[in-house]
Symmetry: D2
Subunit: 322 residues, 4 copies
């Protein structure tokens, strides 16, 4: 019973047209399937059917975060664990989310909606314009937009970071990699991963105290130079830069945060460390090192970064829990 | 009487549709004006109406290379110099080339067709989709293709390099910057500039002995990383890479050569040295240093690079001499 | 019983002084410990005591490749497995390799010498000149040389690639990720990983038929731009470039191969794909796609790349099997 | 009578040892000559004997900015012009500044100390460790520090920007390229060049009203990626980052500002536009576009950037006016 990777996010958006245009034209993601209320997207080397689902709604918010499990058995095993722990969950039938098998839906202890799934269509371009001669490319290398290589990670806000992190580690098996702790002993943020990435999911303190929020989802671009180009593209093509380019001291990754037209915060990032040691000890960042931890080049996180996230929605979209 | 800058090239192409598609979709140039036989193109920060004109024809070849002069008087002054020297020239009327005033047409001693011009429309986007909020951007920063910043240089082949270089320097005032010379004393290549660029025009030996040819035109991308991305884009989007990425030892610039669909060789390059010294002495590269001069990382120039260039055409296009 | 990561290589070198100088001054690795016959090296963000050991010898060759296991129990479990399979192994006592606990030494089916270990000192700079203010940095970010971030992978040659790959997968549990297969059905190369890297170890066909060889070890630099700088550094600082910069079509990584002064081939590389799917199917490259598989930009592998590797030595150095 | 290029700056420093260490170890400049009170420095592809002189003093300040003229005659011609205008000047004898012929010293209308010179030793490495096999490299490509390719530009503060710019243009012939103007009609900054660079010298408003100051000198690195590495190097190797990495909307160049140990502000920058048009019209930036003009990615200039510059010193160093 194990989680294999962070797979995708479903975001409800208040302006589907504008968001779709931004994600395809400016960010350079590709549409796998769509109808008038949903758009399924992936980056050019994402192998799964989708890593982002946009669902039309009255407000913008997070519908769910999707995790792929290590093997088919893990789904029922996790369901049993949830039962034993008295946790609520539901099953989403195969095909409810296009291209995907049945999924186990539940919420983390702080209220972040998640799902586990095993079956997922593998993407391979069929449109002759997109078919690549390279077997390692599910489609041709793109010529448009920021063109991230792949989906990378989730980042959520919670009132009690330590509690959420403990839950993710103990219940879901996601390892604790590094964290920021105030002089008051209060956890400001925790970064966790199940893979060799420095984090598959992060939990940051909601300084506004309003509970669980989506802080951002992150896509991976191939180089710092591409990230700078992405920033320049954002300026005049519908992205509102919030912070960056900067360099996280914690992970060593170069970052850029911007808002897409419906108000979700998106990160593109690149580089930094991978973690291979099986006996990795979570790295502690104190209040003194927090500043360089956030941006080692010295810029400060804007207030919005500390207080604003997209709400959790009880969605009516593709992946909705009845 | 002085030349100010290398301005543009007019290329006859045997497949206008395919070439236009490649230059716009893959290279990321922009169309200023076009009709069924001509397409006027520029890079996103080219300030002039065009830096490349594609003209439909039965074969692919060079129609002319355009140089802008330093002031309006220089045109007639150059005409007088040509008369005194007994050189043939013709005047092309204003508007023959769209967006451009009258031009003085002539051929170099080796037979490379050239023109001098002063009046040229300055480009400033009017399409709201393209208008930039930045006064220094004639249009928005692009999100598509290799997206070079600007036109950079010309490169021609000649049987007698030393003679062509002497003519360019003495008649046109273009300074000699560096050259390759064989142990036999025969000049293999010369690079010249009127600006601070390492070269605005180069002359390389036609190892096939077939006389004047266009070797390539060069556009400038902003970083080595962009150049590598351009190579990856070329692979599956209609560009046939001939050589590179590599790094010229001579100029220090990173290079990539590829053929566009009608057979013209195009270079995108970046970086390397600028030349500021008013008493610059041309740098000599011997046969021993020639290899690192061409690619300091050690790859060898392919045979096509030494022998193939596009022919000189007596064109019927926009800029034709009657 | 599981392997966690590719850890380090011990290389015998015929010119220890020259090799040490190259690895520290030009490559920018750091010495952890050394004496007159051995130098222990690591990249700036390598967390272990060493990722490369140079041992003085009459010839240059591979002493062993070191793999770290997932937990302390795995060592004895692997020993039992080897016994059950009738494979020979020996124990190297703790401290024989500096900074390291006892290790299980054995050879792969093709004769590649390997070891498994669990205990290893974690590096944290104590020299005030090197101590970083960033908890995520085991030492300050360097200002010298190619400065790779970390050790990346092994690459060995074998006469029978398919057999060696099967052994690595079945005995050591290292997953098969992609491979090249001739029209004759003969395996040309296989790439395998236990981590999310596209490969921790590769096996390539020894076209000279001389059996097991070390092809190269690979270090990871942070960007394509850094890799290009590394190439320029190599040119005049003791590295002999063999091939590259190029871009592997298989992994998508940008590569550079060069020889260090004692004749070992070293790769610095960056980028490309990570593999997250638990049901990953090995990607097949045919003879038709092999060319773009090796370098998608189109350069061909030099003959030396296909035929030359460093010999396997029965070493007398730190990690020698008695 | 014409200026050819911005050549060098002489800076008085209160801690010569610390500044020398920073400029050589962290920035990666090279010492041409030095004694106990002066250090002459150049970047690896600077062709002149020096582009930076550090002179020991009680305070840190600007001694002079050096401009090379187009030909030997220009020196006396400028002296005559100054006489006709009633401007004070002095001659500095050949050899006073090492490696340099006689120089004409004067101050701009705002009080910025400058010199014009013609004769200057050309640098070519003689130390075998530094001699390059590439004729275009005055020394080997470096392996240490930020390693800018060349000196780039000057930036000074003045109370009345428009007046200083007019003087530089009319008296020294340096063309006006772009400027920022408040809604109140007050000039905030002007950028000028004699070369194809977007600026060889800039004048920015001293918001503290304290008159002429050195704002910074700028060196050119080869790529945005190198600039980001420079920022990371600065963090733990003696540079105090003030602002950046960011991207000037005006020039399009990527920038980083930091303070060296004696308090001078240094910029490393890269990319952006060159200016070729002989009829270039200065580009106006209004208060509305000023923000993106300073950093198109949206960060704001810190207060120190608007108010702090190094004082003008009546120096006692190598280049002192008796």
């Amino acid at each position: 019973m194990k989680i294999a990777q962070a797979g995708h996010a479903e975001l409800q958006v208040r302006d589907l047209e504008a968001s779709k245009r931004f994600f395809t034209e400016t960010m350079g993601l590709f549409v796998t399937e769509e109808d008038s209320t949903s758009v399924y997207l992936r980056a050019w080397q994402d192998w799964e059917h989708h890593t982002l689902v946009l669902t039309k709604g009255d407000t913008s918010g997070l519908v769910h975060l999707g995790w792929r499990v290590e093997d088919p058995e893990s789904l029922d095993q996790f369901a049993r664990r949830f039962e034993e722990m008295g946790l609520t969950y539901t099953w989403v039938e195969a095909g409810t989310e296009w291209g995907q098998g049945r999924a186990l839906r539940f919420s983390s202890v702080s209220g972040v909606p998640m799902e586990l799934y095993w079956e997922i269509e593998k993407y391979r371009a069929s449109d002759p314009e997109l078919v690549s001669a390279l077997p390692s490319f599910p489609q041709k290398y793109p010529t448009k937009g920021m063109a991230p290589r792949r989906f990378d990670h989730f980042n959520v806000m919670a009132n009690d970071v330590a509690r959420e992190q403990a839950w993710l580690t103990q219940v879901m098996g996601i390892k604790h990699r590094y964290y920021v702790e105030g002089a008051d002993g209060v956890r400001r943020g925790s970064w966790l991963s199940i893979s060799n990435l420095s984090h598959d999911i992060a939990v940051m303190r909601n300084h506004s105290g309003s509970g669980a929020r989506l802080h951002h989802i992150g896509y991976y671009v191939d180089s710092p130079d591409e990230l700078l180009r992405a920033a320049t593209m954002a300026v005049e093509h519908g992205g509102k830069i919030e912070w960056g380019p900067g360099k996280h001291g914690t992970s060593g990754a170069t970052f850029l945060y911007f808002f897409e037209p419906s108000g979700h915060r998106i990160e593109v990032w690149t580089g930094g460390m991978l973690i291979f040691a099986p006996d990795w000890e979570p790295i502690r960042w104190s209040q003194e090192t927090e500043v360089v931890g956030f941006d080692m080049w010295g810029s400060k996180a804007p207030e919005t970064y500390l207080r604003y996230g997209t709400e959790i929605v009880k969605a009516t979209g593709a992946g909705a829990i009845a």
